[in-house]
Assembly symmetry: C2
Homo-oligomer: 434 residues x 2
Amino acid sequence: MSLVHDTSRCFAEAIGTDGLDHIAFERVLQQTAPSIDKLAAIHEKAALPLLELPTARDDLIQPAAVAERLRSSDQVLLLGTGDSSLGGQTLAALAESPFGLRPGRPKLHFLDNIDPLTFEALLRTLDLSRTGFLVVSKSGGTAETLMQFLTVLPEVERAIGRERAAERFAVITEPHSNPLRRAAEKRGIEILDHDAGIGGRYSALSLVGLLPAMIAGLDPIPIRQGAAEVLDQALQSSPRDCPPAFGAALNVALLWQKRIGTCVLMPYVDALASFGLWFRQLWAESLGKNGTGTTPIRAMGTVDQHSQLQLYLAGPGDKFYTLILMPRAGTGGRVAPESAADEAIAYLVQRSMGDLLDAEQRATLETLAANGRPVRAITIPQLDEHTIGALMMHFMLETIIAADLLGVNPFDQPAVEEGKRLARDYLAQMASGE
Amino acid sequence: MSLVHDTSRCFAEAIGTDGLDHIAFERVLQQTAPSIDKLAAIHEKAALPLLELPTARDDLIQPAAVAERLRSSDQVLLLGTGDSSLGGQTLAALAESPFGLRPGRPKLHFLDNIDPLTFEALLRTLDLSRTGFLVVSKSGGTAETLMQFLTVLPEVERAIGRERAAERFAVITEPHSNPLRRAAEKRGIEILDHDAGIGGRYSALSLVGLLPAMIAGLDPIPIRQGAAEVLDQALQSSPRDCPPAFGAALNVALLWQKRIGTCVLMPYVDALASFGLWFRQLWAESLGKNGTGTTPIRAMGTVDQHSQLQLYLAGPGDKFYTLILMPRAGTGGRVAPESAADEAIAYLVQRSMGDLLDAEQRATLETLAANGRPVRAITIPQLDEHTIGALMMHFMLETIIAADLLGVNPFDQPAVEEGKRLARDYLAQMASGE
């Protein structure tokens, strides 16, 4: 299995009275059985497109061609916000080092915001004739994405002409007629259809996440295989042997029985920084409704030990911690005896950077537990396509099952419409000079 | 004044019963008066070095020379973690666009973690002969920073020879003898002394934050002047006219009277992303002790409207929001009539990216308030050295005064020592093969 779950430090016998009581937890865990059965039945009927993605292959043909076309650029800008960007960011992070390009692959920039200063700096710096653009809005009506697209496109047209500009773009949107689709059609820009049955924050395994991954040079098949492995095991299991159900029950039991309303996801892997933000949206937007839900926080090991650990250990006991760990011993640079000829740091001699990272992650796990903080560890064998697919499917299922326990719909986000309407009103008022 | 505070939407008369009652709030606010008096007295006696930084100038002479020396590099790597890095990150973000260098200035990379994959990618990519290094550890004993330094230094020595390597480095540490200082002395690496009276998370206005800022091309004087403006106003005021005291009282009154234990800092300015992380450490590590404190979260506008706003509006009412806003109307690219000839997006025609950003930030402010969520707005006129200095001093004072209200010491972090000791033990066990 790709993911190894250690949940022992969530229980009273390991961490004292702040941990869960096994019998009370069991009652919550058993409430997940109907969710597993329901998901299995839906999967059997192929009624939820998300669950069919792990074995889909035909939908990758057009993205492969588009990825090939855009890869001729020096850099590719992804225009899109929220879940139109985070899945791709998470996957592309596996292929991109923070300090340069993978040889022969364009550098991906994910523009998920509308700060004019960022955009001005961008347009000043890039050679637009050697830049590709992927524009993603599932509804096709996202104001920020349309603003990005409609201000950048004329610049590219001015730089290289209208026809060549169209060849530098691709658009992902739903099949229904919408502003982004109509604008793309008018200009002859290639459109990739996104299945409207796959909600935004569950779209990372669709072409929304996989096309950026393919541009970055990843293979989409093992990503989906990793997801399939988790899905298959989850839907054939009792709650106790179904890691997503067990995880959902932990979160909800801690909320109900211990008033723990914050969940901290803390990977000890730099390349999972975006994964943490992807999870943060998935969890917040799926569960935060009807006055319930818990608040997700993305922390990073080891750096946030020097920022947040004081609060985590000695502040209010209102958090549940999930550490994502990866064995590192022996990897990275090693401290030579002569370079640390100082008794005070003898403990570092002959140790590698990976040794220290291993020691730190183990120490944080044990210290949280010793301070009565419920903490689980999910250990991955290595970071590759298969593992990230498995992680994504795990957390999508955990989120859906947690929503069932909390009695909320994991697939809607009704509260954000009001703000969108207000923003349009304010924009209209500027228009009329009010 | 650089900062304009609007706290009206924290009170019941604006947002309903979830807001604060004015009379009850007043009792908390008046409790801040002794804190202001105490800080004024300390400042009068020059007894807290942090408060003397805004008017200090002599301590900038050596950093100016070191910045000049390191600026001859193509890139400068800052090795250091937590507060040894976040202040510099926050300031350098003003000078660096995310897409390239300011002409004639080296690119700064802040390496605040010890992931071997990140380091391997780095060493593979960079020309070490054209790279400068700034190593920061105030105690001089931070395991992660020593590991970074002791594994990178031999690589540089191998690439360009021992003597030239030393010229590429500079070290910031406290004056007492410590492992980092001894290692630097042995190799003839220049050392800059950090005042041991200035705690790590309060060090952004010292050379720990200002040297990276100077390398990036910023002027340190207006940063300190912005801080001085806030400090002077704060210490001469009654609590009602002292924005840091008012802000501290808001946080604590919401915790005590409304059980609001999470504070969300949400800038609508990309370049303040690191500022949000700097604040997050300042607040968490200063207040999170004795079972109290509130949990800081960094969100970003507008992108997190598409990620976290559903939770913020419709999840549990356990959060206090601080939006940092900046007027943007009329800035950035503008949507031409012909590029949006579609009735469905007529609201975007002739609007600029900055117009949309203004409308969005106003809409989020009003929507949070309309949903009974306490929210304040801090508006900055523009983002420059003066403003960032003002913001930093504001939040340092707000944190110190909040600590007084909560009865905790804002300057210590006793809980994290246990984890550090454990990590060393585990490393030692690896050494002996256990």
